[in-house]
Amino acid sequence: MRDTRRARLILGLLLTAALVILTVDHRTGVGSPLEPLRAGGSWLFGTAERFGASVVRPVGEFFGMLADAPRAHEQIKRLEADNARLRRDLVTSQLDRRRSTQLERMLGLASLGRYTVVPANVVARRGHPGFEDAVEIDAGADDGVRRDMTVLNGQGLVGRVVQVSATTSTVVLLSDPASAAGARLVDGDEIGVVNGVGDGGRLVRFRLLDSTASLSPGLRLVSFGSHKGTPYVPGVPIGVIERVEATPGELTRIAYARPYADLTALDVVGVVVGGPRRDPRGALLPDEARTQP
């Protein structure tokens, strides 16, 4: 059966059906009638992806190990040196620790600036087919994850939760061109918006709302926070500005920032299920960033 009238008719019907689905889903947004279908797919594929990831991970780690082998020797040497230094530090730190607990209690800040975080593993990633930058994590509604919660990892902000099933949830990354996060410059408190530019998350675009404020490479960005801490809680480190684009005559200034979190190779992330009672300001910036000028 080659290119017959019937074949064309069926193709036409299918394409029309796809367009109808597309229009309905696009126009209705969050309350889409396709939501139950999507939840079903999320449950089914999410479960499969969780099992798939547990099988795939050792294989991936094996190949990663092979690639890292030449560097491993050097690393062992460095770790041995580190160990000796840490043992030495341990003795002194016991003294420091006692002092620091007293300080913490006095200021009462530690508990205020701390987030309640649910840890999760990345089990699947979307890049192709599709233009979005999203990952699937193995924590869901059963773990207390809800829509529009902040996702971060040890280095900084990662993204936000857009869809939740019982045991998995979908996270749209900071690098997704359709995502926007409020950001604040640590020095100067100027505010702006961070957009993804695709490109696998190596850079994000920062638009500074005040065109007269100074903007230079090396400045650091933290999340600005939104109403009731959704979708982004305040004070999470985002990245450091790498280059500033010359935009004469425009109302906003544009810079490109390198995210602290390595968005190209995500594994363990945390979902903020309970935010701090007040903005911790720059207190959560990584140590290396804080010591930079």
Partner: protein, 153 residues
């Protein structure tokens, strides 16, 4: 049945393995597209379009997704039909399908005003993906058609 299994396997492999490897150039191969092309090559235009539509709908629904459902149902239905119909031999068909699919997806994204479809993506990311997909096309299409023929017979 075997077609459904192939498509599901391709989707799972795509999201759990292929997309998590950070490849240079900011693109990546599209296994689902190749699976649809491979199946349509052996089954003709009508079945190809139906398989493509179903594979696309699954792609739209399988997490993680953040795009509008129906986009890939449209793209893969068209690609399935095209691959089943054939464009002067097998190799040109595969090449044309691999090139047409992302452009069609981008066009639909542009129609509904998707902010992810930017000139930058069209110029940099899409060509890289097309190259990766074409590199992976011979083994994947061969495997899909072979498995399919054996289990169907």
């Amino acid at each position: 049945m075997i077609a459904a299994l192939t498509v599901v396997a391709a989707i799972l492999l795509q999201v759990t393995v292929v997309n998590r490897v950070p490849l240079p150039g900011g693109g990546g191969p599209d296994l689902v597209l190749l699976a649809v092309v491979g199946l349509a090559l052996t089954r003709g235009p009508v079945t190809g379009a139906v398989i493509g539509f179903c594979a696309g709908l699954l792609t739209d629904l399988a997490p993680p997704t953040a795009h509008v459902a129906g986009q890939y149902a449209f793209v893969f239905a068209a690609v399935g039909f095209l691959a089943g119909r054939g464009v002067r031999g097998m190799v040109p068909t595969v090449v044309v399908c691999v090139l047409v699919a992302p452009l069609l997806a981008a066009a639909i994204g542009g129609l509904i005003g998707d902010p992810r479809v930017t000139p930058d993506v069209l110029v940099r990311s899409l060509p890289a993906s097309a190259v990766y997909t074409l590199l992976l096309a011979p083994p994947t299409v061969w495997l899909v058609t072979r498995v399919h023929r054996r289990y169907r017979a």
